[in-house]
């Protein structure tokens, strides 16, 4: 019996649907099987294959942190620059390549050719070149020659603060100064990052992109004031040239906090080209060198004598008319004095007077004061290579004690001496000197802020008051440091003219002196404590004549920079009247 057309059509429909369903099921089964093969059976191998093609590991180099002065001005900054390299194995025409590169890289073509013929897979041709040079090399399109980016350290102020900042090697490692001391913080961390890329090798951004992955170095904010540093260096340079000295150094500190505002050394050097200078010039003498201080040490002795209540400022002593025999040695004064008061010993800088005060005090009583003022031990400043100075245990013979009393037989660093005077300027409180006041992360957020640190009280405020009066007298026309006087301010300070010891034969070098002046200003409410020393001045050798004028110039500039205005009562009068414009009420 024949089926009805409608039934036949229904059967056909069903067959077609079943075929479709079977095909789909077969397809799906194929997909499932293929998924199993790809995901499970060969999953690991294919995953690795894909990763090899679509992912690559890159090294993310950190940018070295910047160094700022106390007002946020850049002192050291790193900039990416290009370096030119070659792969000798891939070189097609070494001679032609060398000839083309020589004028651009400003190198001898033979030198380049020698590098290109090295049996090495990689050689540097020239590192850290300016952008125009790398652009010209890139334009040549030489096979086997490549350009890679590195960072280079720049010091935009050239010589400014070079001894303090230090410098960085070609591989970005701190080699001296703050750069060395804080290298770990400044350097940052090299990070490895796996990035996706497409079939053409173009990188694809991911959640942890380059910016996130970069672990740049921290930034440092120093206590240094750029303008004061410049003034200190400039004035010191002028002073050294005027005195025809071998060199010089200066330290400027805030006595209230122990902050170092400037640290200058002459001769100077440019840290951008540090390798062109002898090692001797690179050393920060303010912290690394110890020297016999000479008469600038006398206030320490007198402070001890006053604190022990052994002497009063008005007490007098006989100064032997310029020559004092102590056992088989004779101590001399530059000028011959009969009797002098304790204040007079400081004002006239009598060695004999200082020796007698020291002998009356005794080694056992004097030694702790010298030690407490910070001598014979590192100050703890955050500068590398700080010297301890030299202070022998107090088993001193009388002549040794006498010598130490006027600053011989003891060695101090300029920083120690400045800090000791800071204690006198700060009511007897010794502070720890420091250079880094703040550490910032790469985004500029504060990581650490350093507060002034008091190391202890050395002498009483009453002793400080008495010694300050004596030091003010030094900077009077009758004192040895009259040339340190700054118009409009009361200055307290002390001159020093020290013989230089002979390290080879013992004793002292004939005709070689270190002239110095150290003081603080304004005397009654000190804001600045400054030390200036000139090494081996020719002509005049006295601290009061060669170092004091430099002190005056630095202080005058620094007070102006800090906005500390002259005091009416201390302004010198010209022809009986004031010439300054402005009312006294507006000047403090």
């Amino acid at each position: 019996m024949r089926k009805k057309p409608q039934a036949r059509q229904r059967d056909w429909m069903r067959i077609r649907f079943l075929v479709l369903l079977a095909c789909t099921a077969l397809g799906l089964a194929g997909v499932v099987f293929q998924s199993y093969r790809i995901q499970i059976r060969h999953g690991e191998r294919l995953r690795q294959e894909v990763q090899r093609i679509y992912q690559r590991e890159i090294t993310v180099l950190p940018a070295r942190g910047s160094i700022y002065d106390r007002n946020g001005e850049d002192l050291a900054i790193s900039i990416p620059v290009d370096s030119i390299y070659a792969r000798p194995g891939r070189m097609e025409d070494p001679i032609g390549t060398a000839k083309k590169l020589a004028p651009i890289l400003e190198l001898d073509s033979d030198t380049i050719l020698k590098k290109l013929r090295q049996d090495s897979p990689f050689v540097w041709l020239k590192r850290q070149v300016v952008p125009t040079v790398s652009a010209r090399v890139r334009a040549l399109g030489l096979p086997g020659v490549g350009i890679v980016q590195e960072t280079r350290r720049f010091y935009p102020n050239l010589e400014l603060g070079a001894h303090l900042l230090g410098f960085v090697g070609v591989d970005g490692q701190g080699l001296d100064g703050i750069e060395y001391q804080y290298d770990r913080l400044l350097r940052g961390e090299t990070n490895r990052l796996v990035v996706d890329q497409d079939a053409l090798g173009r990188p694809l951004a991911s959640a942890e992109g380059l910016i996130v992955a970069r672990k740049d170095g921290h930034n440092l904010v120093l206590t240094i004031h750029k303008e004061i540093q410049h003034s200190a260096e400039q004035r010191l340079q002028e002073g050294v040239e005027a005195a025809k000295a071998r060199g010089g150094f200066a330290v400027v500190m805030d006595p209230r906090t122990g902050e170092i505002l400037a640290m200058a050394n002459v001769p100077r050097f440019n840290p951008n080209m540090y390798h062109q200078y002898p090692k001797e010039v690179l050393r920060n003498r303010c912290a690394a060198d110890a020297y016999e201080p000479g008469s600038v040490f006398k206030p320490i002795l007198v402070a001890a004598a006053l604190e022990e209540k052994l002497w009063k400022p008005a007490d007098v002593l006989y100064c032997e008319n310029g020559a004092y025999r102590l056992h088989d040695k004779v101590i001399h004064d530059v000028h011959h004095y009969g009797t002098l008061s304790l204040a007079g010993v400081i004002q006239k800088s009598s060695n004999i007077g200082a020796a007698k005060i020291g002998l009356s005090l005794g080694a056992e009583r004097l030694y702790p004061y010298i030690r407490n003022f910070g001598f014979g031990r590192p100050s703890g400043v955050d500068i590398p290579g700080e010297a301890s100075g030299l202070l022998r245990p107090p088993k001193w013979a009388p002549i040794e004690l006498a010598n130490i009393s006027f600053g011989q037989g003891v060695a101090v660093t300029p920083l120690q001496l400045t800090n000791a005077f800071c204690a006198l300027a700060n009511g007897g409180r010794l502070m720890r000197p420091f250079v880094v006041r703040e550490i910032l992360d790469a985004q500029g957020n504060t990581v650490e802020r350093r507060a002034p640190q008091e190391l202890g009280s050395v002498v009483s405020p009453e002793t400080v008051r008495q010694i300050t009066e004596m030091l003010i007298a030094v900077v009077s026309p009758e004192g040895t440091g009259g040339q340190a006087a700054v118009d409009g301010f009361q200055v307290a300070g002390k001159t020093g003219t020290a013989q230089k010891p002979d390290p080879r034969h013992g004793g002292y070098l004939k005709g070689k002196y270190l002239a110095s002046f150290v003081g603080f200003v304004p005397a009654k409410e000190p804001r600045l404590c400054v030390l200036v020393a000139l090494d081996e001045p020719q002509g005049s050798i006295y601290g009061g004549q060669v170092a004091a004028p430099v002190f005056r110039e630095i202080v005058r500039d620094a007070l102006g920079i800090l906005g500390i205005y002259p005091e009416e009562q201390f302004l010198a009068r010209e022809k009986g009247r004031m010439t300054r414009v402005g009312s006294s009420s507006t000047l403090q």
């Binding site: 229904r10 990416p80 694809l204 300054r580 414009v581 402005g582």
Partner: protein
Amino acid sequence: MEALVLVPAKQDKAIPREIPGLFPLRLNLAHVLILLPTFVAGCLLLVWSKASVLQERYLLEEAQREQARIQMEHRTLRLTWATFTSPKALEEAARKRFHLHHPKPREVVRLP
């Protein structure tokens, strides 16, 4: 039991209105016509979203490169600025071009 089928208003009588008893689910042509486009649309959406993400990653990569370039330029400009405003350069310009000098104490005037 019969399943309802959506059919056009003018239906050809030759085409059956249902596919009876194939599965207990009672899948019929209407279901297939709805599910298949949905599946295809889902696939297209997936491909489109993947392509969009890829495109965005290219753009993000480009933006990151631009950010790095701007940061570098910023550093370079800071270096240039610091060089021009170094005390040595300023003092030289002040002395030579404008004939200025450091003020003496009596030349300092503090404005109220």
